[in-house]
Amino acid sequence: MTSIRKPTATRSLAAALACLGLGAAGSYAAHAQETPASAAPPASVKAVERGDALYGRPEGGAAAKLAPVAGPPLATPVAKLPLDKLKVPEGFHVEVYASGLANAREMTQAPDGTLFVGTRTVGKVYAVLPQAGQDGKREVKTIATGLHRPNGVAFHDGALYVAELSKIWRYDDIANHLDGAAKPVLVYDDLPKDEAHGWKFIAIGPDNKLYVPIGAPGNILVPPDTHAQIRRMDLDGKNAEVIARGVRNTVGFDWNPKTKQLWFTDNGRDWVSEDIPNDELNVITEPGKQHFGYPFCHQGTFTDPEYGWGHSCSEFTAPAALLGAHTASLGLRFYTGTQFPDAYRDAIFVARHGSWNRTTKLGGDVVMAKPGSDGRVAAVEPFLTGFLQDNKYVGRPVDVLVAKDGSLLVSDDYNGAIYRVSYGK
């Protein structure tokens, strides 16, 4: 655990509860009344009842105005994309790479530059051809339709792996099957069917194994043994094993190019407070042995108001960095290119989709976690901003990807677009 920096508590739970404006004692009492006293039973019925994203919401006027809202099913026309609002550091340039990909989510790129993009709400997987046409636009092909929340995509050895909510498929020789007629091979389906946190980010590691997360089936509950974890398996779906537990919902991970350790984002629970918990940036240093805290400990610093009793955060692996309260930190990649200045080498880019569980929205940007000389995270800084305007989203970043040319691609599911951030030129 030497490479993990233990985050400092920004504020105590009592102080955070006081932020609700209700007073800590009153606030907790109200919460306790609406949640059953028994903490343990992982019976499936119980878990399903708690599958509601709003479970755990306190009574109260301001809280009643907060709810997750999915983005539109139609892509924004290119002329109406919020490009003029987007900001990048000096020397960088942001442009529209592709548009017309409604609900664009996870991205993966083939060696020939073809970009594959999954979706969460429209059932489609897209391929963006690498060469722009004479009109400057890249052709977008729909290579699959009618899938159930095909959020996850991973290209490997000529094949495209696609993760639906409860099935993972492999499309062989995908480069020659971009017309949408390809028949996939089932790789793995020993997965729960819960809708809550059921959509998946997937990736194939340097160990040539497929990594698959399974989120908690609700906001806050004691998850069944099959949930709130990351699994890895052989590329044919065999020999699956759990490599991390206590993971509420990760929708982004990548491997440190130097240590080969897996770093992942994890979305914190809702409804404790406007200001806590933070989403987490975590590192797996001992596969199969670490528990990252959910539902007992959040952000490495405080125990859950309901499930934390009898536990201490010292029982669990603390995050390497905190990513902001309710920011919905999703896609994550190490910068392995050479186009950006040296300071960006091996930095971690994180797409923060943006909060819904806060009155004043937070996130809606791409941040950079800078590694210090000791390998720890030295600072988390803004990189691509401007999606949040006057407490409203004009776009919502989902995933980041270091393109073959060293530029950074960013998907936006609200507008159905891909942006490209480049340096120089």
Binding site: G51, L54, A67, V69, P73, L74, T121, E195, G218
Partner: protein, 195 residues
Amino acid sequence: MGGIQRAIRGPATALGTLVAGAALAAPDAAMQERLAPCIGCHGNGTSETEGVPSLGGQLPDYVVTQLFQFREKQREAPPMNDVAAGFSDDDLRAYADAVATLPPPSRSGTPADPALADRAQALVAKHQCTSCHGSDLAGRDAIPRIRAQREEYLAKALAGYKSNARPGYDPAMNEVAQGLSEADIKDLAAYVSRL
């Protein structure tokens, strides 16, 4: 429903030309023309046809999402899948904007009796319906208005979410509905339709 012609169900009707007798909320002739086949089945804001929802008072973000789901066959609801099959994205937006001009449905029938109201209000609180649908259940953004919707339509929608026969655009309702019993669904539909 004043002078609105009583709708006849079926795809031919939905696609056909219909006479809308009452004054429309739509501001121009093009929108009236676009709305005519919709009104044929759905009524001028208030549906009088069993199984066919009232569309009045729905916001364009919700309507465009449903039309999209019909076109993509994510939501099976004949004849709407055939109706929407040939629509372009611009068509979806135009129809959604037009439908959003229809006046909110008016409640018909007797109000909920006190025992039903008590049971249903407890369910509304427990499942936090107002958090997304608004304090008066009139909807917002892409979340539908459900107050004064047709009772049998509400019951069917909730049952569809519970069985996952109707996968929501966002899975929120599929999650919520898992905790509803058949009796809960009956009570909620009866109560909300009478608001």
